[in-house]
Symmetry: C2
Subunit: 570 residues, 2 copies
């Protein structure tokens, strides 16, 4: 039968024709008018605007410094009433399914004493009598002023009939009751696994109930996996929470294949509203998901696998962070090196050879130096725009900080950790090693890219708490007066940039979203005050009124109450 | 800022508005005119048409019995010059990645003697000196007239320097050389694993080189997995081959998570042209991919996970098929039952409880009876439109055939197997058990749904060879004269229906594709003659001139040569 002439390749020209048949869309434009608009450059330079036009694909047509510069002929006009509009916040380091599953499980992060925690656990166990396991997270013996880890016996006192497994706030330690220890067959005879430690009762080999890092798996592997329905619900809950916090994109640090499938189900079924920048939890997961390289951007820039997240050490609180010199409060311990030097380089190579991006968890100064060494070596082979990432980059030997800039290595840091860790960090590191700790200002000074995140569910995802910490080095109570190591505080502009454009750059999303400029997605947040004029206390108190992604409103604070009457004019 | 009133839920109305903004597409229509069009009902009723109109979404607007009934005002008109147009063929049982990887590996299916095979293996090994393993498939000692399985020594004679692993044509046995047996540590001391058999040298415990069913894994698990790039290339090759055969949709029976990821990469990157109806290779794979149920139809009806494929027994050639009475040519053997009765029911329940579809591989009469028993039991709990599938349904106790219709159980059969297996089946079953073998006509007579496929790469995917076998019970040489068990031959119409509408129904795709009727996807094939008027020999010789999927031409036989001059009129 007929073919169109000339026919280079069957099908192709037909497709071309099909495209030609598509009617040119009448560009329906919406004017977001009368706003106190703020757009950030990566380096913190600010561009203010009073109006913005969005096309019907949810992309920004342009922004206008003065209202009268905006086009008058648009299809829709929305009056912003002078409210503050900033780019949607991008969390550069979080655990999406961890947030969601956490919301479905027992949360101890607000407990201030062991007794309070025990009461909450007992109440939860009573509320869910037919759950085979009681699983939870968020405890922090530091906040309890316990001066030691809690014990299995202290859990048995409230729940003895079934296993209880509770992760520490930093996810690097787990607290088990005796039933859980039995299930994991953890006894006095069990040796510490490589990269992990079984806490023992004083003057005995008997396990005390807390398992650190690699030892956690002894019990954790017996915890029943959540069903698909739970995972879908958890993702929904996580999205709700993040959107309510003004977060329009999140970086998922350590995506399992199960997590990825959950994200895809949501995308396939139109339930994915948040943007997710994903890093696989292992090289095998990365290869299974991505195949020969990172995935394309899926669902209108809502999901992409960029590469892999590797763990080089543990956390400071559980003394898992790998330090150059021993812990000040444990002179025999240097922390845990979870990957050997060759292992680390081989894994980074395997990813880089197929242009996957590499993000390495490094908290201690030895771990950070080791990653920088590895990047120096690998950069000789794997050139071009690689955007090596160090996650947390928490404690540096000050001499190492300038090395970040050498290959444009991204420091992906979480400001709130500084305020939560302050006293613990002083105990672990002693006075001599605080200069390079949570050193945002020093990192910026080297010209290295900075990206901010929350590490949720380790911390609450509220970005304004992070911004307040970043500019003041003080906690929610304003402590310590004048700020902790205040020389490392940064400007409001630099902090907001690290939480928007900087986080987008760190995830290869620049040009797609992260800034309110022509051509990027219209992801923005409406606030009740201007963060660039806010005191630290004001910053913490900022309320998110509305969250918009791709030109569509996905959250409104007053939706529940009905809120003020509004009108749209055409 | 403004919200539109009334606003039920934030975002929703905005989305509604965004939709409202979309311009109504000018329906660009294409008239496929002057064709000998054939549309099939599932039961084989035929509707002829002379013209068909397709909209610019690639769906059929309508078909017209007479050319002058077709609308004159269309955007494009394609003159079919009276050629025959049939619905795109749908293969109800194949292994997509097996086809593709097979095309990249050593293919012995055309060898007619052991010596010929040995020569081809030696040639391939010489051609790929740096492949660590020589991997291939397609051998069949029956075609070689060997009267026994080949041996490791016969492989060592041509390749001794590295492992060689060659799957039998039916995939139920593997032929290893000594290096491969060493790698798998298969020795005289190795016991037969459950569900498998290690062939031994006569009068000895020493392995002869052939491993059957579950025993295959002893060596197979050491074969290096193909890299993602190989898998992407393999999928491309498989698509090319199937489209050239007039196949527009294929049922992938036993999709691994790796396979699924390969399909998704192709879909995400716009490389998926063929439609794939997928059944996971295990319940865990099914749950990982689908979560709480089958996936939605992805990529404009090009991919969906329907459910799971389970293996109840092996194959006839390797005496793995589970028979009620012993093998005629092995009086001590009844074949292999790969799943216990409770196991089978538990796996079927796990799938059915979340509305996943279940397809069970059953070849022997005992296996088929067992699946029918399980379906009878499960149907009491899992009601509604379940479309239980039996894959192969090859050898029935004639008394069991009527039970298929009771719950609308689908018989998914491969006509070409009958012609390939004929003499082997007579040897294995003896004269007494042939009445219920490959009994298409008897299945149809019960009113049970019938779906046809090729089982490629076990057989070539050419559907016209299958249609010829279905109507004649003779092979490519026309043997045996008058047909084997000719009472089971079926009509041209019923055979074509089983390869189109019947296969679509078996995959829950009815209403989307499989028939040339208003509202379904315009998937069709242009042939050089009319299959409903063709002799068996003519049927086998039918040439596919063009293949169209969703209104786009994806294959043209004369594309290479440039072919006849064609014009399109607007």
């Amino acid at each position: 039968m007929l073919r169109m002439v000339p026919l280079p390749v069957p099908g192709r020209i037909w497709t071309a024709l099909a495209l030609a048949l598509l009617p040119t869309p009448a560009l329906a434009e919406t004017l977001i008018d009368n706003v106190n608009g703020i757009s950030m450059e990566r380096d913190g330079r600010v561009k203010r605007f009073a109006a913005m036009v969005i096309d019907d694909n949810g992309r920004i047509v342009d922004t206008y410094a003065k209202r009268n510069q905006a086009p008058s002929k648009v299809d829709y006009r929305v009056d912003g009433r002078g409210r503050t509009v900033i780019p949607g916040l991008i969390d550069a380091h979080a655990h999406v399914m961890g947030i969601g599953l956490g919301l479905l499980s027992l949360d101890l992060s607000d407990t201030r004493s062991l007794a309070e925690a025990q009461a909450k656990i007992a109440e939860y166990a009573a509320k869910y009598p037919d759950r085979a396991w009681i699983v939870g997270r968020g405890w922090n013996q530091e906040l309890w002023g316990l001066g030691r880890f809690p014990t299995a016996a202290e859990l048995d006192a409230v729940v003895a009939d079934r296993p209880v497994w509770l992760r520490r706030v930093d996810g690097h330690a787990g607290w088990a009751n005796s039933a859980a220890l039995r299930t994991g067959n953890v006894t006095a005879a069990t040796a510490d696994p490589a990269g992990g430690r079984i806490e023992r009762l004083a003057g005995s080999k008997a396990p005390s109930g807390v398992l650190v890092d690699a030892a956690m798996d002894l019990v954790a592997r017996h915890v029943p996996a959540p069903r698909a329905e739970d995972r879908d619900l958890a993702l929904h809950e996580a999205q709700q929470l993040l959107l309510a916090n003004g977060i329009t994109a999140v970086t998922d640090m350590g995506t399992s294949v199960d997590d990825w499938m959950t994200f895809r189900r949501a995308g396939d079924e139109g339930r994915l509203r948040l943007r997710i920048i994903s890093y696989a939890d292992s090289v095998p997961s990365m290869l299974l998901i991505g195949g020969g390289g990172p995935t394309v951007w899926l669902y209108d820039d809502r999901l992409r696998l960029n590469g892999v997240k590797l763990y080089l050490d543990g956390a400071l609180g559980s003394r898992g962070a790998w330090l150059k010199a021993p812990y000040a409060d444990a002179p025999k311990e240097n922390g845990l090196q979870l990957l050997g030097g060759t292992q680390l380089r081989n894994l980074m190579s395997r990813a880089a050879m197929d242009r996957f991006q590499v993000a390495v968890h490094a908290i201690g100064d030895a771990a950070n130096a080791e990653v920088l060494d590895a990047i120096d070596e690998l950069s000789q082979t794997y050139q071009g725009d690689r955007r090596w990432r160090i996650e947390h980059a928490q404690v540096f030997d000050p001499a190492d900080i300038p090395r970040l800039a050498r290959h444009g290595t991204i420091a992906s840091m979480q400001p709130v950790h500084q305020t939560s860790d302050r006293t613990m960090a002083e105990a672990r590191l002693g006075p001599g090693r605080l200069a390079g700790a949570y050193a945002w200002k020093s990192v910026l000074a080297t010209g290295a890219p900075l990206a901010f995140g929350s590490d949720a569910p380790v911390e609450a995802p509220n970005p304004f708490a992070g911004l307040a910490a970043a500019i003041s080095r003080t906690d929610a109570a304003g402590e310590p007066f004048g700020g902790w190591q205040p020389q490392e505080a940064i400007s409001r502009e630099a902090a907001l940039a690290a939480y928007t454009a900087g986080a987008a750059y760190a995830g290869f999303a620049d040009g797609r979203f992260g800034r309110l400029v022509a051509g990027e997605r219209a992801d923005f947040v409406v606030l009740d005050r201007d963060p660039l004029l806010a005191s630290p206390e004001d910053m913490r108190g900022i309320r998110v009124l509305e969250t918009w992604i791709g030109g569509a409103q996905v959250y409104a604070a007053d939706a529940a109450t009905g809120g003020e009457e509004r009108t749209i004019t055409r």
